[in-house]
């Protein structure tokens, strides 16, 4: 019973912790891309990686202050969005999908490679960049707090506070943008690109603005992830996270301002709860070793996410809160 409560608490902590914020910000960016505009960006995690490494490299390798590091990360995300958008935004949706997933995987391999190691530390992780962030913490970062049965140290709590504030601001921005005239153009692009063009709107420019904006939000997510883990490794930005963010977005409801937030909290809770609940069951021998081992549990989460993604798309593409008429289901 205590183990069950512990699993609940650990699920609760994950649903509010930096990983939920990371996935949530990825999904808020994707909501801009996919939910409102209908752009299939499958390389969202690349923006996050650039955001994280922007801070890390600027602070530890170039000795710049922490604030400048944030600007470096955001700038890198803007450049990537422009580079990706220029060739592919005129083409059909699946070309953007292929190009972005290729760019994300290519960038990760590049950051891992021997050539980039002097700058990114490659597979040996970059750390010691978050001092400037921890110094801003208004309470003692080493103190331990108990919230909802889970233990949080002051630093985790600080990352989560800042992270959820950023999420709130991004959601507010999304809300303001989509009900502006600009937002109506963007949503019409999702519905019928040719009609928008016929009305004299510049579809290409609008798509590019959306790609940049969503990418920047993704980069903020990557920064929170880097600050939460305290170290940067290209393998922390596997493209499976992009699809986790898609699952979050579609679960919560695409084209809904708070869809990604709801989705992230629910999905991260489910995933960490099953994680934490299965581990003691395996260790106590309730589940035999031959069926599932402890390292398998971490892999099982992506199997579940994959099946969830398929099931949602087939049976409930609008997710929990979405509007079926607003969900982009057809190619263009």
């Amino acid at each position: 019973m205590t183990e069950f409560l512990d699993a609940l608490a650990s699920g609760g902590k994950a649903a509010l912790g930096f990983q939920a914020i990371f996935i949530c910000l990825l999904a808020v960016g994707l909501n801009m891309h996919f939910g409102y505009t209908g752009l299939l960006n499958f390389g969202q995690v690349a923006f996050a990686m650039l955001g994280g490494f922007g801070i890390g490299v600027a602070v530890t390798k170039w000795d710049l202050p922490f604030g400048v590091g944030i600007l470096v990360g955001l700038g890198a995300a803007v450049v990537l969005a422009l580079l990706l958008g220029l060739p592919t935004l005129r083409l059909r949706a699946d070309y953007l999908a292929i190009a972005t997933i290729a760019a994300a995987e290519g960038l990760r391999l590049l950051f891992k490679s021997g050539t980039a190691t002097p700058v990114t530390n490659g597979t040996q992780s970059l750390s010691g960049f978050s001092g400037g962030f921890t110094d801003l913490c208004p309470w003692d970062p080493t103190r331990t707090f108990r919230i909802l049965g889970a233990r949080w140290d002051g630093r985790d709590l600080w990352v989560a506070t800042v992270g959820w504030t950023i999420v709130a601001l991004c959601c507010l921005l999304t809300w303001l943008l989509v009900r502006s005239p600009w937002g109506r153009v963007v949503r019409s692009i999702r519905e019928d690109e040719d009609a928008v063009r016929a009305l004299g709107k510049n579809v290409y420019a609008h798509k590019m603005q959306v790609l940049v904006l969503g990418g920047v939000i993704g980069a903020l997510g990557g920064m929170i992830n880097a600050l939460g883990t305290g170290s940067l490794n290209p393998d922390n930005y596997q493209n499976a996270y992009t699809f986790l963010a898609y699952a979050v977005l579609i679960l919560g409801g695409a084209a809904r301002v708070l869809g990604p937030v709801v989705g992230a909290v629910i999905l991260l809770f489910i995933v960490s709860f099953t994680d934490a609940a299965l581990r003691p069951l395996i260790e106590n021998g309730v589940i035999p070793e031959g069926l599932l081992t402890v390292p398998d549990v971490a892999r099982l989460r992506f199997v579940l996410v994959g099946i969830l993604l398929m099931a949602l798309l087939v049976f409930r593409p609008q997710g929990i809160f979405g509007d079926r008429r607003e969900v982009m289901l057809d190619a263009r």
Binding site: R92, D94, I98, G106, S113, I250, L300, L309, V314, A331
Partner: protein, 452 residues
């Protein structure tokens, strides 16, 4: 080859007479079809879990050890070199000598950090160590940790035209593999409009099934490969019958189908990781031995076999597409599905055959890739992006485009190591993909209509 406008209309529901019909479907019909699909998805999931239950981790039964193989492409296995394993604080555990296959293994007292060092002076003439002579490894409980030492045999840094020829031949071998794996990807796109992100997993399934039959089942590699191809074909048929045909019937949009294929890819990939574990493993009885010298380039027997098998298979596919009735039907459906259907071709049957054939080819490609580069749980996904590069370069949806594009990408990726470091060669392939999208998005053999 041009695509008739009617094809574009079919792909673009905005222009169909009743746009809402395709999206919503009829409610009653959707309910029953939905339950059927759910049942099938559950069956697939249980099937996967059953496989997971039947195959316990191999390594966990044995206890911790470190293993490795010393070989170079030029001189084959390196025999008689001492490997020393010590704990992190320097206490020596054991020193072993590599056997005639270059293999070595040291059992460990328990999990934890260890230092593995090689006696670089004992290497034969012409072979030198590339990198540090020691490796720090952390061994997980119950794991057999593979440790590799990079060896130089002079074939890499000989430079000049010889090296270019060698890379060209390696590139042709790799390109043929990419081409073989991506024929299915391209034909599936052509016949159904689906960009199948789960195609890489068909490659992995082929390699992994062959590994289990070969290493656990004890069969030699040829029957193992045949079984893997049959299993691959069955998985392809299951894919079409259990998932894609029902989804087409419900009128699921192409973007939704694309995201479903992503979910399938994610689920399968990590299911394979649970069954197969995260490390790379090689087949038994495929000692590629010493390379044969062909003057300008050298090839091991395994690589030579791989090239011959791929050429024979690809020529067979080309002949089939060109000469046989089903081949012509495939090209017809790929070109214009409605026109093909109205001229009496059973479109669903053709699509099923495309899936079976494509998946079987991908599985065979996976086995061949596993022989040359070892079997890994994410090998297919990494190849998938190069397959996309090849298919896009050749022209999405055209069968011959996959052949031309795959070959080009393979050669380009291997030849690029003349200029860039080896660990960046995949990056170059992905860069090529993006450049193709800028310069000629319809590909070499594609037509402009498709990219709209």
């Amino acid at each position: 080859m041009t695509h008739a406008p009617s094809r574009v209309c079919r792909e673009d529901p905005r222009r169909t007479p009743s746009p809402s019909a395709g999206r919503a479907g009829t409610p009653g019909h959707r309910g029953s079809a939905g339950r059927r699909t759910l049942l099938r998805l559950l069956l697939v999931a249980f099937f996967g879990l059953a496989i997971a239950a039947l195959t316990p981790g191999v390594a966990s039964a044995e206890g911790e050890q470190v293993t490795g193989t010393l070989r170079t492409s030029g001189s084959g296995p390196v025999e008689g070199v001492d490997i020393t394993v010590a704990t992190a604080d320097g206490t020596e555990i054991d020193t072993v000598t590599t056997d005639d296959e270059g293999k070595w293994a040291v059992p460990l007292p328990g999990p934890g950090p260890y230092v593995v060092s090689i006696d670089g002076d004992a290497l034969p003439d012409g072979v030198s160590l590339d990198g540090e002579p020691t490796r720090n490894v952390t061994v997980q409980p119950g794991f057999s940790q593979a440790v590799s030492f990079g060896l130089e045999d002079g074939s890499r840094n000989s430079g000049g035209p010889i090296r270019a020829v060698q890379l060209l031949v390696d590139g042709l071998r790799f390109g043929l593999l990419i081409a073989m794996c991506s024929v299915g990807l391209s034909l599936i796109f052509g016949t159904t409009g689906l960009t199948n992100f789960a195609h890489g997993e068909l490659v992995t399934i082929g390699a992994v099934v062959a590994w289990f039959v070969n290493v656990e089942g004890g069969l030699s590699i040829v029957p193992a490969a045949i079984i893997a191809v049959i299993v691959g074909a069955a998985v392809g048929a299951l894919n079409e019958l259990a998932i894609w045909r029902p989804l087409r019937k419900r009128g699921t949009g192409l973007v939704a189908a694309l995201v479903v294929s992503i979910g399938l890819s994610l689920a399968l990939r990590y299911l394979i990781q649970i069954v197969f574990e995260g490390r790379s493993r090689s087949y038994q009885g495929v000692t590629s031995g010493r390379a044969n010298d062909f003057g300008a380039f050298r090839l091991t027997d395994a690589d030579l076999t791989s090239i011959i098998v791929s050429v024979v298979v690809l020529v067979g596919i080309a002949l089939m597409l060109q000469r046989t009735k089903i081949g012509k039907a495939m090209r017809a459906v790929s070109d214009n599905r409605d026109l093909a259907a109205s001229s009496g071709i059973n479109v669903n049957r053709v699509i099923l055959i495309v899936w079976v054939m494509g998946a079987a080819l991908a599985a065979l490609g996976g086995v061949l890739l596993g022989i040359s580069d070892d079997v890994q749980w994410d090998m297919g996904f990494r190849l998938l992006l190069l397959m996309f590069a090849g298919v896009t370069l050749g022209g999405l949806g055209t069968a011959y485009g996959a052949l031309v594009g795959g070959l080009t990408v393979g050669v380009f990726v291997q030849m690029s190591t003349l200029v860039v470091p080896t660990d960046l060669k995949y990056v170059v392939g992905l860069l090529l993909l993006i450049v193709v999208l800028v310069v000629r998005p319809q590909g070499i053999l594609g037509s402009r209509v498709r990219i709209g």
